[in-house]
Amino acid sequence: MPAWLVTLGWAVLKASLILGFVLFNALFLVWWERKFAARIQSRVGPQRTGRPFGYLQSMADVFKLLSKEDVVPARVDRWMYVLAPIVIFVPAVLVYVVVPFGPNLIVQDLNIGILYVAAVTSFTMIAIVMAGWAANNKYSVVSAMRAAAQLVAYEVPLVLAVIGPVMLAGTLSLQGIVRAQEGLWYIVVQPLGFLVFLTAGMAELNRAPFDLSEAESELVAGYNIEYSGMRWSFFFLAEFSNLVAVSAIATTLFLGGWQAPWFLPAAVKGLIPPVVWFLAKTYFLVTVIMWIRWTLPRVRIDQLLDFGWKFLLPVSLANIALTGLLFPVLVRLGWI
């Protein structure tokens, strides 16, 4: 077999696996979020489609979305309108290229992994502005503007929060950062960084309490207001894909990725495969983010920007300074 065919085969296999993972996640998390939200509100959630727990609810949603008419409103900017769902979905999948699911289970361990993540995820903003502008709807434009302001504001603390683990591990490669956490997870030495990352990550996800760009009570639906059927579901897929991606990156940076908890004895560590650890931690973080969503009310736009620029940014800078100051101490203690 020629070498290029082997490369192509591997590429197609990896891409299909990642796509499958993303789609499965969306199916599972839609159901999970609905059940979770329902229980928080003392309801039962979906239960009739697929008994006992309504586990086929997402499949029913998929068939509904697939069978819907593909409506393109008359006065939209056609090219941008058609392209926006693709532009938002592609980066959401591309992030998974560098996510280390296990010691060898990674598409490509880039040596600038975390930089790549920051670069790829910022495409989301372009897609949102495209969708908002193209739809030729005042609500969607307002939503897109809000999303732009919000994403620019929170991209900065997000990247600055990432610098802490990078400093400790001495590498930008996600796999390298995970390996460096064998002795101790970075959440122990970087609690501030973790909180900043989670908060800014939630803002990047446009998730409550930072869901200003899709504030249904103010803006009808947000930037995806004119979309329906399969095009709309691409936004939805991207949202859930990004949710898992942020959780996965947070797991990688702060919760030791696929490493078992450091305090467990070696015999116990060997029992559970690394990929299970990774997925368990990721879904735990996803659930925490959902928990936050169903607890806190939405912030105002001025509060949002104040919080991003005047609080998170200084805190993340302080975190970097603290990390630098404590670095020799941690090395002396043998923690890193």
Binding site: Q41, S42, R43, V44
Partner: protein
């Protein structure tokens, strides 16, 4: 009260503000976590039933006198005149003893707003709001209740509110 965000805040105020915000956020999450592990209050209707209390006032029904086993209604038409949506239709009939009684009595339950005015105006206490709530039908005609469907025996004085721990539902909380 949380202090409003003002411009000239001292650093101490800021720290207090921060502490309060953090405390509120943590407490809020504790509340939602508590609710997460509580039993849902939803009653899954066709499988589980809502046990309405005897004094639950859902729709008007014709009262049968327990002694005579006859309808108390004398077809005086007060309710027909008072009904705001005008959905009560009565055909007055007269017995051999010259007493009037409703030959036919219809209420269009599809349009009934369950206001209870017919019950209020009835001079003979011949109408009563009853706890029955299963009124679904497969055909609109079945939503128009006739005399037979409306006739119920209202038994004695209504029992007091059951103060049993854990429920306002006679059957207890759904599982």
């Amino acid at each position: 009260m949380e202090a409003a965000v003002t411009r000239n805040r001292s650093f101490r105020d800021f720290l207090i503000y921060l502490y309060r915000a953090a405390r509120a956020i943590v407490l809020g999450h504790a509340v939602t976590l508590k609710h997460l592990f509580r039993r849902p209050v939803t009653i899954r209707y066709p499988e589980e039933e809502y046990h309405a209390t005897p004094w639950h006032r859902t729709y008007p029904a014709l009262v049968i006198d327990e002694a005579t086993r006859e309808l108390k209604c004398t077809a005086c038409m007060s309710c027909e005149r008072a009904c705001p949506p005008g959905i009560i239709a009565i055909e007055r009939a007269q017995g051999e003893d010259k007493k009037t009684y409703p030959g036919e009595f219809w209420i269009d339950m599809l349009r009934c707003m369950e206001c209870g005015i017919c019950v209020e105006v009835c001079p003979f206490d011949a109408l009563e709001m009853v706890p029955e709530y299963k009124m679904t039908a497969y055909h609109p005609d079945d939503g128009i209740f006739d005399k037979e469907r409306l006739a119920v025996v209202v038994r004695g004085p209504k029992t007091p509110w059951p103060r049993r721990k854990g429920s306002y539902l006679e059957g207890g909380w759904p599982t």
